[in-house]
């Protein structure tokens, strides 16, 4: 690694000040499972590395007035084992379980997974299917964004260089919403997603309501298949309609060809993934 200065601020305010002071030659370190790997390969020093992994404001999972709040520095292991996640958003456990391996999940954080913003991130689809919001802290205070607005492009988020991600909020109306998640990888452990997907909906008077279908690793950022969602929205619940919507979802993605999988294979996985996650949500809805 190229030499850099290392700062461990004691408070969130001190972290924001450090970012402002050293911007743009400053980077944030938290779990490190992605960024330390990057540091080993870069040819230029990042300047200053600010370690935010110990900030108490970024920890904790709790139910607040606005919904289920998850600190950005909460690890994937903490998500997998927390009773509030199990109660309110259990699909997040399935998603967290598919991240890397035990060692990666013990270090890697939910916020880090989102900020890194690679298309194959495992946390994105479920959070998008639950209409998650994020709170960003900067020198001018805090601002809230929908997660869909936070993702900009491959490895690019709405974060400014002097800002950090504080928390992820699952809004009240999404708590307990039936959700299914699936990841297709080349192996069960230590594999990036070829395609991943999450779907959610409520059932009211026998009809689909608030349908969400989110797809990962098929576009520059995790995306929603809104045309497929519209096929189901407000219609009587049926497995046949689910199969039809899953077919439509394929056209809404633009997967790449690479050494892990061809575009054609990924397109097949999108249909299968959308269908299976919708059926999983249906099974969850039927208890």
């Amino acid at each position: 690694m190229k030499p850099f200065d290392f700062i461990q601020p004691a408070t969130t305010d001190a972290a924001i000040s450090a970012l402002a002071e050293h911007s743009p030659n400053v980077r944030i370190l938290c779990g490190g499972t992605d960024y330390i790997v990057e540091l080993k390969h870069v040819t230029q020093s990042p300047g200053v590395v600010v370690d935010i992994s110990r900030l108490q404001d970024l920890k904790g999972i709790e139910v607040t007035d606005s919904g289920l709040r998850i600190g950005a520095a909460v690890t994937h292991t903490e998500i997998m084992t927390h009773p509030l996640i199990k109660e309110h958003a259990p699909a997040m456990i399935d998603a967290a379980h598919t991240v890397g391996a035990v060692q990666t999940r013990n270090l890697g954080t939910l916020g880090g997974n989102l900020v890194t913003c690679v298309p194959s991130m495992d946390s994105g689809p479920t959070l998008l299917a639950l209409d998650a919001e994020v709170t960003i802290l900067g020198p001018k205070g805090s601002r809230k964004l929908l997660l869909s607005e936070f993702f900009v492009f491959v490895r690019k988020t709405a974060l400014e260089p002097d800002e950090l991600l504080l928390e992820i909020i699952i809004p009240n109306e999404s708590l307990g919403k039936p959700t299914g998640f699936i990841k297709f990888g080349l192996r069960k452990g230590q594999a990036l997603a070829l395609v991943n997907a999450a779907s959610s909906f409520r059932i009211e008077d026998g009809k689909f309501k608030n349908v969400r279908i989110a797809l990962g690793a098929v576009a520059p950022v995790v995306v929603r298949a809104t045309e497929a969602e519209a096929i189901l929205e407000g219609k009587m619940v049926s497995e046949g309609l689910i199969a039809e919507a899953a077919k439509v979802a394929v056209a809404e993605a633009s997967p790449i060809d690479d050494f892990r999988a061809s575009k054609e294979y990924r397109n097949d996985l999108i249909e299968v993934g959308a269908r299976r996650t919708l059926l999983a949500a249906l099974a969850a809805a039927n208890g």
């Binding site: 030499p3 200065d5 370190l29 490190g32 330390i36 790997v37 370690d51 391996a101 060692q103 192996r187």
Partner: protein
């Protein structure tokens, strides 16, 4: 330089290292603890696995400064040459390892798993060790070793499943 004070294998230790030093490098080069191995250096192989405050982590993905004030357990802290830890004894009895390079990481990851105190299945063992790569054995005997260690340490019996079916 970053001054790091931490508890390694029950003993308080201090080192002064450049900020870009990983926990693994500090353990191996400043503290003469070469049990944790440098394998892939990117968090894929698990040969550098140590316990950090009781959790299995890749020491190659932690900066030394991030371990300040924490407790680290490496393979050296598990036992002495005279008295093996039950996991090591089980691994030896079934000849779980061949070249042994992955061994310290495998054994530490196994300890983290058994320490959780949960009832285990073979599938859960495979899941817990999916971050530890072995290029010699094909894993069958490693999993046998973990099963034996789990039964020895906890007094529980692993549900009977064929290794292949699990």
């Amino acid at each position: 330089m970053t001054d790091v004070t931490l508890v390694v294998n029950g003993e308080e230790k201090t080192a002064s290292v450049p900020p870009e030093t990983t926990l693994l490098k500090m353990l191996r080069e400043n503290m003469d603890l070469t049990g944790a191995k440098l394998g892939c250096d990117v968090g894929d192989c698990g040969a550098c696995t140590v316990l950090l405050d009781g959790l299995a982590v890749n020491a190659c993905l932690v900066l030394a400064g991030q371990a300040e004030g924490k407790e680290v357990l490496t393979i050296e802290g598990l036992s002495t040459l005279e008295k093996y830890h039950p996991i090591q004894k089980a691994f030896e009895d079934v000849a779980a390892l061949q070249c042994g390079f992955c061994g310290p990481g495998m054994i530490i990851a196994t300890k983290a798993l058994i320490d959780q105190g949960e009832d285990l299945t073979r599938q859960e063992i495979k899941d817990a060790l999916s971050g530890n790569l072995c290029r010699c054995t094909g894993y069958t005997k490693i999993i046998e070793g973990v099963v034996d260690a789990y039964e020895e340490i906890t007094g529980k019996k692993m549900p009977e499943t064929k290794p292949r079916a699990a």
